[in-house]
């Protein structure tokens, strides 16, 4: 392995390098091949050196204008696995992964809430029953709570009903219902 002498020669790395030529320190000091945009100098050539490629390397030591376009492409592909455009391209169909993971994590959240509702949260107090909510509303209207811009300002005391009925006004609490005691 001519070229650069890498000092990390553990069995682990030599098994993985094989006969590929080491050409530099690499991004972390190990003889690792990786395509990275922020450190585009891998420690190895991508492909093993064949005699044809070796001839090209000799030619490359001369004037680069003498290299044809195909020779330049062969040199690139023997040194690098993917071009910048190839490894920086978004993975096709990645949006499906994103949506899938998002929904899976949301479902975990929903499982958590199911467990909470079954085993942790106690029953609502008695005052949330509809008959008692109506009783509280009657008391608030009788006390003229917030009579200028708030609750009692929307209640018509002559008509005994709400002044304007919209989609979110509660029903008239003074009407007797079967569950009132």
């Amino acid at each position: 392995m001519a070229g650069y002498f890498h000092h990390n020669r553990s069995k682990y790395w030599l098994e993985r390098v094989g006969t590929r030529e080491m050409v530099g320190f690499g991004m972390n000091g190990t003889p690792l091949y990786i395509d990275r945009a922020d450190f585009p100098f891998p420690a190895l050539r991508f492909k093993e050196t064949t005699p044809e490629i070796q001839a090209l390397y000799e030619k490359q030591k001369g004037d680069w204008k003498l290299l044809t376009l195909d020779e330049k492409k062969t040199l690139y592909r023997s040194n690098y696995g993917q071009t910048f455009a190839e490894f920086q391209a978004p993975a096709s169909g990645e949006w499906m992964l994103v949506i899938g993971y998002g929904l899976m994590i949301s479902s975990l959240g929903i499982w958590l809430f199911i467990w909470l509702k079954l085993f942790v949260i106690k029953d609502l107090p008695e005052t949330f029953k509809p008959s008692l909510i109506r009783a509280q509303m009657r008391r608030m209207i009788d006390l003229q709570v917030n009579p200028i811009q708030g609750l009692a300002s929307n209640w018509d005391y002559e008509k005994k009903d709400w002044k304007v009925k919209k989609w979110n006004t509660p029903p008239n609490p003074f009407i007797r219902c079967p569950d009132d005691e």
Partner: protein, 80 residues
């Protein structure tokens, strides 16, 4: 025919952040003044008008007696 018609304007090459900040300050002051005017007219004056309307013909003794006779006060009895 090749070539542009007339002379192209030279784009601004320096002081881009400066001009952006000038525009931002102008826009921010206009929006702040608008928000203050909105608050003054549509909240403060409106509220003063609504309160004045309410208290113009408000009989507090009648209201007090209505609530008292329903038995809702702790310190006064209803008359019956």
């Amino acid at each position: 025919m090749s070539g542009a018609v007339g002379k192209a304007n030279k784009p601004q090459l320096r002081g881009l952040l400066h001009s952006q900040i000038k525009v931002n300050i102008l826009l921010a002051s206009v929006v702040a003044v608008g928000a203050a005017l909105g608050q003054y007219f549509f909240v403060n004056n409106e509220r003063k008008r609504v309160y004045a309307e309410f208290y113009k013909n408000y009989d507090i003794e009648k209201a007090f007696n209505t609530i008292r006779n329903k038995g809702l006060f702790d310190s006064c009895e209803p008359d019956n």
